[in-house]
Symmetry: C2
Subunit: 337 residues, 2 copies
């Protein structure tokens, strides 16, 4: 079914666009209280999500999102050919334990906060390539597990700079299928890793903005489309400063997309929630896509979306050893059908 | 080009089997001194590999393996559609920095020590699915980075139990292509995550053996083949105890494959090298495949291989929090052409 569509570009075209037949989103309290609160399937009002540790809470979020996505599609685990998932925790344990609980053939991914988009891109290729009829994709993050792993334990009360972002506590999941009803994925643009020499892990917007801009430009060049082919172009988690920087970098290359450009990290929290530069984490683009954006496609507010999952590819060790931080962005075209 | 080959099984068939047109392996001193030493492209005789830290040494190993694989195929970075890679380090930084240096559209993977086989399986699907003409796949590990991240800093001199394995210092890389000359990948069996309740990170053979056995049985059932269709069946890094356990689990299910069953972790070191249960790490199956096994296919010693990349899916944090350790195994059929 897959037909060779690659033309030396970074973009692949799907001949039979895989269908997003189901999505689910499960979030924590801060996300539930935010402006998109009503678009999520489930809100936990405690960050432990009835578990003993925050790490187990994050696994709970991913497992519930995966099960909810299956349930909404009237499917069981055995109906799924592959599960693709990842998260921010060391050795992607949230995804590993979720895969263990679901017992679906599993491919683990790490794309930092771009993981959901990497997973949907790969899942769509497996389906349109003829290797799967249905794929389950998911990603998660948790504010408290990410803070203590990447920065400081929250109990320390360390002051956060204004460029810092707030890791979304939440998980999103989608079921992609070769047929069915729902929005479709028509193209994927796989990002290159871009390193502009930024080295501050408290300013990830500046790390990811050049990668996001690079992928957007490559996508528009590869497809020969004007940016206004899309009703909305959004990034995963650039936050307020990162989005400004991406806007600037795009204009430098002759692309002013600012009349329809937003960011999941900006959408998910209100200004009153004191999250500084906005949301981040694998869960950020995952829950905003699986909740709000899919809802907007289904109610007809938007017809064509260009979404860029963005990731900051550092580890605490690489930062401590003085390395700069590279970034990545993977784009998907999601259209209402 | 991809044709729907999935039959509700865990195994995918490649209609036009992707070709391994080039492989490369770069290793550290202990691997160079081992019985397979002469099969590797390059041996560093210092574990720092001319870098300042062991983490940078690991990146150097992966970057050199990737470049060598390209060079042996007379290709440049721009000739490659996608790079798929991963490693054991937190946030797969070895792969991220290598992707940054090569500037090829990048998909990051985490499958613990199964990563090379996960990457080759996905890469083969992207090629046979029609999304890429050439894919670069790689994986790395380093004894000293893995010890201090997963267990103890080596400077402490902590005694290792006899079930412990020695993380291979090395990186392997392959170029997969839709056409060309070399061995081909005809099938991939994607593993489920299996958790039998083992919880000791110093006995990873026992974690991975059930997953390896599960994937081997599923592969033979899915393909309807007898085990002796293959000249050799090998696992990634079960080590001596894990291999015995896999042998036992397979016999329990009616499969005695012991006359042609081995393990890359057993092959890579000699008994005199004091590595206890054998080699492990993403680099283990990667360099043994890219060096020794491909050589054996090319010189006609073997015609058909069934290789199972095996991974132990824990993190230091998950172990400290009392979780059990799940395992995974991904199988590939590699045949001489």
């Amino acid at each position: 079914m897959g037909v060779f569509k690659k033309n030396g570009s970074q973009t692949v075209w799907f001949e039979n666009p895989p269908v997003i037949i189901s999505t689910a989103s499960v979030v924590g309290p801060q996300e539930g209280e935010g402006p998109l609160g009503k678009t999520f399937d489930k809100v936990f009002y405690d960050t432990y999500c009835d578990e003993e540790t925050w790490e187990k809470a994050e696994q709970r979020l991913m497992l519930e999102a995966m099960k909810k996505a299956l349930q909404k599609a009237n499917l069981q685990e055995k109906d799924i050919d592959f599960m693709l998932a990842g998260d921010l925790l060391n050795q992607i344990v949230s995804a590993n334990f979720t895969a263990s609980a679901l017992s679906i053939p599993f491919l683990g991914l790490y794309g930092a906060c771009s993981t959901m988009y990497e997973g949907m891109a790969l899942g769509a290729m497996l389906i349109d390539g003829g290797f799967a009829a249905r794929v389950l994709v998911g990603a998660s993050s948790h504010y408290s597990t990410a803070e203590r792993q990447f920065r400081f334990p929250t109990e320390l009360g360390v002051q956060r700079p204004m460029t810092a972002q707030w890791t979304v506590t939440g998980a999103g999941a989608v079921v992609l299928a070769e047929k069915g009803s729902g929005p479709v994925i028509t193209h994927a643009t796989i990002g290159r890793v871009i390193d502009m020499g930024q080295a501050d892990p408290q300013d990830m917007g500046a790390v990811m903005a050049p990668a996001a801009a690079d992928t957007i430009v490559r996508h528009l060049q590869d497809t020969g489309r004007a940016y206004d082919y899309y009703d909305l172009i959004y990034t995963g988690d650039l936050g307020t400063y990162g989005k400004k920087l991406a806007d600037h970098l795009l204009r430098q290359q002759g692309y002013d997309i600012s009349d329809r450009f937003t960011d999941c990290g900006i959408l998910i929290y209100s200004g009153a929630q004191d999250v500084h530069a906005g949301g981040s984490g694998c869960g950020c683009s995952a829950v905003v896509t699986c909740g709000y954006l899919i809802e907007k496609l289904k109610d007809g507010s938007y017809k064509r979306l260009l979404g860029i999952g963005t990731g900051s590819l550092h580890s605490p060790c690489s930062v401590q050893q003085g390395s700069t931080i590279p970034g990545i962005g993977h784009a998907l075209v999601i259209e209402a059908r």
